[in-house]
C-alpha cells in the first residue's frame, strides 16, 4: 500500500562502532527493517516498517541497535495529537476500520495506582511468610448460603450439604482466554503446561482445544463463545470448567475474526471449520438475545456436563456491569469473569478498544457491592480481568472483592511480548501471536512455561508478603476486605464506588 502521508513511527539507529555485520537482526525481523547488502558487505536499517518490538535489539550480540521514536514532530497541538493526525491519514488512504492489538493504551485513570495497601504495626503482629503458613488456595464456584451437618451413629459430624463443583487454585491468578489461532501452538502449549504446573487454570479462548493439550485439560477452562468454534460434548466434558464468553474488555459488543490465512490444518481441526475459511465470531450469541436465553445456555452446558463443571460467564465491563453480573448470577453462573477497559485482544478496532467500557477497578467494586447488596455474592465467584501488571494490582483486586484474576497481557509479556500491538498482522517476531512457521518456532514452549511459572511464583510470593504484612495468613481475609485499601487522589464519588476511604482516615 502506498502510504506516503503516514510517516514512520520509529527510528532505528545502528551504532557502526559496535555493529559486526553478523546479520542476526536481518534474520530476526519479520518486517524487513534490516537488510544486508552483499556487495557493500553492510547491514543497514530502514525504520519505516519498524513496529518497535525490540526483537532485533534484544538479540543483537553487541548492543549495536537503538530504537527510538521518530523525531519527525508535528507542530505541538494538545488536541490534534500526532496519533489523531496519523489515523486520519491512514483512513483517508485506506478507508477502513483501524485495527489494534493488546489493551487500551490511552491514559485513562489506572485506579490501582491510586490505591494503597495496609500493613500491621504493633497491635497486630505482621506474619513472616517464610516462617509461617500463608495460604493462597482459592476455590472458585458456587458456595451454599450455609453448611448443614448431620451426625452419624458414631456421633461424627458429616457434611449434609451438597457443594457445587469448584475449581481449586493454588494461587488466585489464572491465564486469560487466548485462543489457539490468535496465538501460536507453542504459546498455547506453554500456557496449558504452566497452568498445570502452577496449580491454576488456562482458558482456551474461542479456539477449541488442540488434541495435544488434552493432557492438561484438568487445568483448562474451555470457552464457548458466539462462534461456537471447537465445541462438542467431549470438549465440554474434558475441561475443568466451561466459560461462556459474552464480551471482552478490549472490544465490548464486538465479535471476532480470525482471517482464513491463519486457519491451517491444525487450527481447522481444532476449531472444527474448513481449512482456509475465516473464523468469524458474531457480535452477540445468536441464541442469547436476553438474560433468560443465557440461563438456557448455562442450563444446557450444565446438563451436557452432568452438573460436574462450574460454568463461568465472561462479560465486558460496561456501564451497567453490575446489573449484567447480577443477572448472570441469577441465571446460574457459578463464576462471573469481568473484563475491564484495559483488557487485551489479538485484534480489535482501535476506536472500540480505546473508548468503550469502564475500568475494571470500578466495575469489580460495583459488582461485588451489588451482589452483596442482593445477598447473592456467595452464589458465584468473581474473576477480574483487564490488565494486571503486578502482584500489587492482584492484591488490590482481591481486596476490592475479586476471588481471582485472569492475566493475559502479563502472561504474554512473560513469554516475551513487547506490547508492539501488532498481533493482528500475524507477524509476531516473538512467536506468540502468529502462525508463521518461521516465527512460531521462536517460542520454545518449555522456556515459555518456565517463564510463566516463574512469574506466577514471583507474584504469589509477593502476595504472601503483602498478606503477612497485613497480619493475615489466608487470602480469604483479604478478599473483599476494603478496609485494607486507602485511596490517594480520588474524588469522593470514586471512593464511594470503590468502597474505600481516603488515606489518613
Amino acid at each position: 500500500m502506498r502510504r506516503w502521508l503516514v510517516q514512520p513511527e520509529f527510528k532505528v539507529e545502528r551504532d557502526p562502532a559496535r555493529c559486526i555485520q553478523c546479520q542476526v537482526c536481518v534474520r530476526q525481523c519479520a518486517n524487513d527493517v534490516h537488510s544486508y547488502d552483499e556487495d557493500d558487505e553492510l547491514v543497514s536499517s530502514d525504520g519505516a516498517s519498524c513496529v518497535g518490538c525490540h526483537r532485533c535489539a534484544t538479540l543483537c550480540p553487541t548492543g549495536a541497535i537503538a530504537i527510538g521514536r521518530s523525531q519527525l514532530d508535528f507542530k505541538p497541538n494538545a488536541n490534534w495529537t500526532p496519533e489523531n493526525i496519523r489515523n486520519v491519514y491512514k483512513q483517508a488512504e485506506g478507508g477502513g476500520v483501524l485495527l489494534s492489538s493488546m489493551g487500551n493504551d490511552k491514559p485513562w485513570r489506572v485506579y490501582w495506582d491510586h490505591l494503597l495497601l495496609n500493613a500491621a504495626q504493633v497491635t497486630n503482629p505482621s506474619i513472616d511468610p517464610l516462617r509461617e503458613p500463608m495460604e493462597l488456595v482459592t476455590y472458585l464456584g458456587r458456595k451454599p448460603d450455609q453448611v448443614r451437618v448431620e451426625r452419624g451413629p458414631d456421633g461424627k459430624a458429616k457434611l449434609a450439604t451438597e457443594i457445587a463443583p469448584q475449581l481449586k487454585l493454588r494461587t488466585p491468578i489464572m491465564f486469560s482466554a487466548m485462543s489457539y489461532g490468535s496465538i501460536s501452538y507453542n504459546a498455547s502449549r506453554a500456557l496449558a503446561q504452566a497452568a498445570a504446573e502452577a496449580g491454576t487454570f488456562a482458558n482456551t479462548g474461542e479456539g477449541g482445544l488442540h488434541t495435544d493439550f488434552r493432557p492438561y485439560a484438568s487445568n483448562m477452562i474451555v470457552q464457548v463463545a458466539s462462534g461456537r468454534f471447537g465445541v462438542d460434548p467431549d470438549y465440554l466434558n474434558i475441561a475443568a470448567a466451561v466459560e461462556i464468553k459474552i464480551g471482552q474488555g478490549a472490544k465490548p459488543g464486538i465479535g471476532g475474526h480470525l482471517p482464513g490465512e491463519k486457519v491451517d490444518a491444525a487450527i481447522s481441526r481444532t476449531r472444527m471449520i474448513p481449512q482456509g475459511t475465516d473464523a468469524i465470531s458474531p457480535a452477540p450469541h445468536h441464541d442469547i438475545y436476553s438474560i433468560e436465553d443465557l440461563l438456557q445456555l448455562i442450563c444446557a452446558i450444565k446438563e451436557a456436563t452432568g452438573h460436574r463443571k462450574p460454568v463461568s460467564v465472561k462479560i465486558a465491563a460496561v456501564h451497567n456491569v453490575s446489573a449484567v453480573a447480577s443477572g448472570a448470577v441469577r441465571a446460574g453462573a457459578d463464576i462471573v469473569a469481568i473484563d475491564g477497559l484495559r483488557g487485551g485482544t489479538g485484534a480489535a478496532p482501535t476506536t472500540i478498544r480505546d473508548n468503550v467500557g469502564i475500568p475494571i477497578e470500578l466495575a469489580l467494586a460495583a459488582v461485588d457491592s451489588r451482589l452483596r447488596e442482593e445477598g447473592i455474592r456467595n452464589r458465584a465467584s468473581l474473576v477480574a480481568a483487564g490488565s494486571f501488571r503486578s502482584a500489587a494490582d492482584v492484591a488490590k483486586a482481591i481486596a476490592l472483592g475479586a476471588d481471582a484474576v485472569y492475566i493475559g497481557t502479563a502472561a504474554a509479556v512473560a513469554m516475551g511480548c513487547h506490547l508492539c500491538q501488532r498481533c493482528y498482522t500475524g507477524k509476531c517476531n516473538w512467536g506468540i501471536a502468529t502462525q508463521d512457521p518461521f516465527l512460531t518456532k521462536r517460542l520454545n514452549p518449555d522456556v515459555a512455561t518456565r517463564r510463566l511459572t516463574n512469574l506466577l511464583r514471583g507474584w504469589s510470593l509477593e502476595i504472601k508478603e503483602m498478606l503477612g504484612g497485613m497480619g493475615v495468613n489466608a487470602i480469604e481475609s483479604l478478599r473483599g476486605n476494603r478496609e485494607h485499601l486507602r485511596a490517594v487522589g480520588l474524588s469522593d464519588r470514586e471512593m464511594a464506588i470503590l468502597g474505600v476511604k481516603p488515606a489518613g482516615e
Partner: protein
C-alpha cells in the same frame, strides 16, 4: 558422554551460536575485536543449516566410532581420554582433509587459515559450550542421552 544436541523445532536460525563460537575461539575473546580482526582466521565449530523454515545448529557429534579418527594420517585427530571429545591437534595436522571427506555430518571443515582442520572442541573444558549457553531459545542442549 555429554553431547550437544540440536532441537530444530525451536531453532530460530539467528546464528548467535556461530557468532559466540567464533568469539570463544578468538584470541581476544571480545566480540567486536574478534569480528573486526580475527574473523578471517577463525572457523566456528558450529554451523546453522537451513532449508525453508527448518533450521538447526550442527557441530561435531564426537562419534563413538569416529571416521575422522580412522582417516587421520598423522594422528592429529585424537580423542581426549578424559572427556571423550574428538579433537584436532592443529600442530600435527598437515591439511590432507581426509577428516573433512569422511565426516558423515559435514562437521569438520577446512580452517579459514587453510592450515588445519577445524571442528567443535566442546569449548575445551568449559562446563557448558558457548553455543548452548547463548542460544536464546534453548534450541541447543548439552546433555547425556
Amino acid at each position: 558422554m555429554k553431547r550437544i544436541y540440536a532441537r530444530e523445532e525451536f531453532c530460530l536460525g539467528c546464528r548467535l551460536c556461530e557468532i559466540q563460537c567464533l568469539v570463544r575461539h578468538s584470541k581476544s575473546k571480545k566480540i567486536i575485536k574478534a569480528f573486526r580482526q580475527e574473523r578471517d582466521q577463525i572457523t566456528p565449530g558450529v554451523m546453522v543449516e537451513s532449508a525453508g523454515h527448518v533450521t538447526f545448529a550442527m557441530q561435531c557429534r564426537h562419534c563413538d566410532s569416529a571416521p575422522c579418527l580412522e582417516a587421520c594420517i598423522t594422528g592429529a585427530m585424537h580423542r581426549d581420554p578424559k572427556t571423550g571429545a574428538v579433537l584436532c591437534d592443529a600442530d600435527r595436522c598437515v591439511g590432507c582433509w581426509m577428516c573433512v571427506m569422511t565426516c558423515p555430518a559435514g562437521a569438520v571443515r577446512r580452517g579459514k587459515d587453510q592450515k588445519a582442520a577445524s571442528k567443535c572442541d566442546l569449548c575445551a573444558g568449559d562446563k557448558t559450550p558457548v553455543c548452548v549457553l547463548n542460544c536464546p531459545n534453548e534450541a541447543i542442549v548439552y546433555e547425556e542421552r
